[in-house]
């Protein structure tokens, strides 16, 4: 479309205008110092997005430094580029990252979630990697019942899932795993964290730096419109009733365009035409120009008159702050412009030469001959003020004085029906999780497993975080999240390699919230050190609040591991009648923070389970040894709902359902404690009967408690202990578990 630019007189910059941009008086002082003058309106807008939490991490940066980020496999470190890169052997690497789209999804769930997927995919192919799979980690308010808020939660949930499906399915990247939780704390403020992983050869790693003075700067991809104006700033505020006025912040995604962009960029990166490449995500053109200049130690000058636009009469402010999707900035080697043109014409995509790399360190924005903004790039991109926020510890959780009793038989059905525990089939059935022909373990097992054929590598991946634990004890909860992720990988036969995290918290100005953030970061760091999994990148989402307070602290962990041999791929479902059922680890007795308490009594309280990393590592190593020896037919870790839920899921989560006869003998534990405690470092495995003895011997030799607890088979799950017996019909457990979410969602 042919377009004109409006150059209206700049609105006056009053204290109110400054405040509306989320800029504090001190920050405004700093801006004036950097510029040596007052900013104009466009410049003020540029500072406001670049210095928002979403882009600058001004509240969280000192905390993020606590993560371990190095290691022999790290090819690109966290923070250097759009995503970290990890060596997976034979000259291949993987780039992966997680990103949040919480606030956009609260306003418009379908497009909010869809554009979140689009954004994280761009971060990955910007690195030169071909995206091979996605994960998603979602949290909503409760979906059972009929209150207006429950209906809203259902609408958000179904919209988010449909949006992720729309984008991922169309672009042809399988969504192979993730997690979904439902809890009151997410009412009105859902969490939508999306993850993408791509693979590349080591020599294919692309950089987001504006290198080479005089090199032309190209804009490629979709035209710029007024969508998502200042979305990054928006994501850095609390959601209020007034947020609905922020409606222009909604962006619409076009996965088809992104597919073209992905293919065109990867094709271009195989040539020698690219000096630097950067996606336009949050803060669009602003962020990509000043970041590439800052990384390159150069300046970038662009002419907005040359930027492809979808609407007429946009102002420089609007163009610079637009968050239109599916756009990239490419620094092209001078003389190679024709290569860009050929490839983007082949893919029928808009492109334009909009600027040039300069040696003066400035980000200069012009409209024709008129300069409309001129800011030192490095200060803008990297020198946002850093805040050391006040913290205030919440009181430590009180131990439970008694464990409430209920019908232990009925309790299992209620737990399996709880949407946080129930099968997520309703969700993943809507995702194309098989495209690209590599999904060896489909969604529904402990970890998703994908074979990257071109690299001949088998990767396992999972995302985890039990936010109940984090709300009770943020540090321990974060440690537990990392341990659970590693355990899920071990259950699939994988060795953990690296981590990406998404830190979802409330308003950091409230000292309790900031304390939670700090505790969680330190907990994640401890976990990552223990499992030798460097953090390669991630995302921080603050201001997740609703009128009744902050969300539960939710440091989502995305972990990736590698499976050395195809024969080691293991799933959680029992395989054959007659197989021995073996518990690796102790019977456990910790009930604090359990789903038993939450689902049956509405109580989120107690001291969450403790994790002993040394013991956990022994367990995981032992399990991998047993798997490598071919002794393990299934492995499933104990998590929400304890042993009873683990056993039931192993019975019903496979292609066929199988019962099991379990006998714990004498335990001395009350039945509800035995069945539903959530102590860590436990895995239920099954093994051919003739191998049971060998498994027990090897486990004990490895230093891990192990006991045979029963046999697979029959049409019931039967559990005997201390002279009591419980029996459940497998068909009923299966119907409950598979049907729960879809029956919630079929209500109006």
């Amino acid at each position: 479309m042919n377009t004109t630019i409006s150059l209206p007189p700049d609105p006056e910059i009053t204290p109110a205008v400054i405040a509306k941009h989320g800029i504090t008086p001190d920050e405004y002082e700093l801006i004036q110092k950097i510029l040596g003058r007052k900013p104009n309106f466009t410049e003020l807008g540029i500072f406001s997005v670049m210095w928002s939490e979403h882009c600058s991490y001004k509240n969280s940066k000192p905390e993020l430094k606590k993560f371990p980020t190095t290691g022999p496999t790290v090819l690109v470190k966290a923070g250097e580029e759009n995503a970290g890169v990890i060596d997976i052997g034979d000259g291949w690497g993987m780039a992966f990252k997680m990103e949040s789209h919480n606030h956009p999804s609260a306003i418009e769930p379908f497009q909010g979630a869809a554009t979140g997927v689009g954004g994280i995919i761009r971060d990955i192919f910007t690195m030169g990697a071909r995206p091979v799979f996605n994960l998603n980690s979602l949290r909503f308010g409760p979906i059972t019942g009929n209150s207006p808020s429950v209906k809203t939660n259902r609408r958000l949930f179904s919209g988010v899932v449909a949006g992720i499906a729309h984008y991922g399915n169309c672009i042809g990247i399988p969504t192979i795993g993730g997690e979904v939780y439902f809890d009151e704390s997410y009412e009105g403020n859902p969490l939508v964290n999306v993850f993408c992983l791509g693979v590349l050869k080591h020599e294919e790693i692309a950089r987001g730096a504006a290198k080479g003075i005089g090199n032309p700067v190209f804009y490629v991809g979709a035209e710029t419109g007024r969508d998502g104006l200042a979305g990054a700033a928006f994501a850095s505020r609390e959601l209020t009733e007034e947020s609905k006025q922020d409606r222009p912040a909604v962006q619409v995604g076009d996965p088809f365009k992104e597919k073209l962009l992905l293919e065109a960029c990867l094709e271009l990166l195989t040539t020698d035409a690219v000096a630097g490449i950067q996606d336009m995500g949050a803060a669009g053109l602003t962020c990509s120009t000043c970041e590439t200049a800052s990384r390159g130690g150069t300046g970038v000058e662009i002419d907005l008159a040359k930027v492809p636009k979808r609407e007429t009469g946009m102002t420089p402010y609007e163009i610079m702050l637009s968050e239109s999707q599916e756009r990239m900035l490419i620094i092209v080697e001078k003389g190679k412009e024709h290569i860009v043109k050929e490839i983007f014409e082949k893919w029928d995509l808009p492109y334009a030469e909009v600027g040039v790399v300069k040696d003066d360190g400035m980000m200069r924005v012009k409209v024709g001959d008129v300069t409309v903004a001129e800011i030192p790039a490095r200060q803008l991109a990297d020198e946002a003020p850093i805040y050391h926020r006040e913290t205030k510890a919440k009181p430590a959780p009180k131990p439970l004085c008694e464990i409430p009793k209920t019908d232990v038989g009925l309790a299992l059905g209620k737990l399996l029906a709880d949407p946080s525990i129930a099968s997520k089939q309703w969700v993943y059935r809507q995702y194309d999780h098989m495209v690209r022909d590599g999904t060896m373990v489909l969604p529904g097992s402990d970890a998703a497993v994908f074979i990257v054929r071109e690299a001949n590598k088998i990767l396992a991946s999972t995302s985890d975080c039990n936010a109940i634990y984090c709300s009770l004890d943020p540090r321990e909860g974060a440690r537990l999240a990392v341990a659970e992720a590693a355990r899920n990988l071990a259950c699939s036969g994988a060795v953990p390699l690296a981590v990406t995290d998404n830190l979802n918290f409330g308003n950091p100005h409230k000292p309790e919230n900031f304390w939670q953030l700090r505790e969680c970061v330190e907990g994640v760091a401890e976990g990552c050190v223990a499992f030798n999994t460097p953090v390669t990148g991630g995302n921080v989402s603050l201001y997740n609040e609703n009128p009744s307070g902050a969300i539960d602290p939710t440091p989502t962990i995305g972990m990736v591991g590698i499976i050395k041999d195809e024969s080691h791929v293991t799933t959680s479902a029992f395989k054959d009648a007659g197989d021995a059922v073996i518990l690796l680890g102790e019977l456990g007795d910790e009930m604090g923070g359990s789903h038993y308490l939450k689902v049956l009594f509405g109580r989120k309280e107690g001291v969450p389970p403790r994790i002993d990393f040394a013991k956990e590592i022994v367990l995981q190593n032992t399990l991998r040894d047993l798997i490598a020896k071919g002794l393990v037919k299934s492995a499933h870790d104990c998590a929400e709902g304890g042993l009873a839920v683990t056993l039931a899921e192993s019975c019903i989560c496979g292609e066929q359902t199988l019962g099991a006869e379990i006998d714990f003998g004498t335990t001395g534990l009350a039945p509800e404690l035995l069945l539903y405690n959530e102590s860590q470092t436990r895995v239920v495995i099954s093994a051919a009967p003739e191998n049971a003895e060998a498994v027990l011997k090897l486990a004990k030799a490895g230093g891990i408690a192990a006991r045979r607890i029963g046999t697979v088979g029959g049409a019931q799950l039967a559990v005997k202990a201390d002279g009591n017996e419980q029996r459940w019909k497998i068909a009923e457990l299966s119907d409950t578990w598979y049907g729960s979410i879809s029956s919630c969602m079929s209500e109006a």
Binding site: M434, V435, I451
Partner: protein, 234 residues
């Protein structure tokens, strides 16, 4: 033998089809870009799954007018073997190379899962390696796979034994309970009257390796090889 996999800009199962033919069956296979206009020298043409041109408006509607589709139509009208999988099936109905139409799943949801299919007629190039009534396990992944046609068309399809695959249960029983998307008579795949054009919603190329859960998709490719008198060399 030589095969072509057509590549629309939004195709996303093109590599999977290419892999199945080239690496599982050893068939020399080319990608053919949608802007090309010739299909000379090919013994098999595949329209792969995906979202051809974003699948805006209707699935396959815009693809129908891409330059390569003229060549595809000529090729089919001269008896060339043509198979359209998922989005490829939608392109075939939009192009009127197969009768009927594919509309939104009755649940309105995209559905991705393994499904059982009951084989109908086998006297054709696409399922001659199977037994009539045999049950195949092949995944589906679509939002608009709900096959519909008027009564006359349906009568013709039936009379000419053009209904090649129906959604069934594990034992081959075809019923509404085994219908994932609301398809007329559980139709999952049909061929044209001349028996050289086959369209199906399930993805045989996703069922070619045991490590991915099923090898039943191989029957389709094996049938084509049988028909052409070629032996797999992979």
């Amino acid at each position: 033998m030589k095969a072509a996999v057509i590549r629309f800009p939004g195709s996303n199962c093109d590599q999977d089809c290419h892999y199945a033919l080239q690496h599982v069956f050893g068939v020399s296979t080319d990608y053919v870009w949608h802007k090309e206009s010739s299909l000379k020298g090919y013994d098999l043409v595949v329209l792969p799954g995906g979202f051809s041109y974003g699948d805006y408006l209707r699935c396959g509607a815009i693809a129908r007018f891409s330059p390569i589709m003229k060549a595809v139509t000529d090729y089919a009208n001269h008896g060339g073997l043509l198979i359209g999988i998922c989005n490829g099936f939608q392109v075939l109905t939009e192009s009127r190379l197969l009768p009927g139409a594919l509309v939104r799943n009755r649940s309105l949801h995209f559905i991705c899962e393994h499904r059982f299919l009951r084989v109908g007629a086998t006297d054709n190039p696409f399922l001659n390696a199977a037994q009539p009534g045999q049950v195949l396990n092949i995944p589906i992944a679509h939002g608009e796979g709900n096959y519909t046609a008027d009564e006359a068309t349906l009568a013709e399809l039936t009379a000419n034994r053009q209904i090649l695959l129906r959604y069934s249960d594990e034992k081959g029983v075809v019923s509404d309970a085994t219908n994932p998307n609301g398809s007329l008579q559980n139709i999952a795949g049909i061929c044209n009257a001349a028996r050289n054009v086959f369209g199906l919603m399930p993805h045989p190329e996703r069922a070619c390796e045991a490590r991915l859960g099923s090898t039943d998709g191989n029957l389709v490719f094996q049938s084509i090889l049988n028909h052409l008198g070629v032996r797999a060399v992979a």
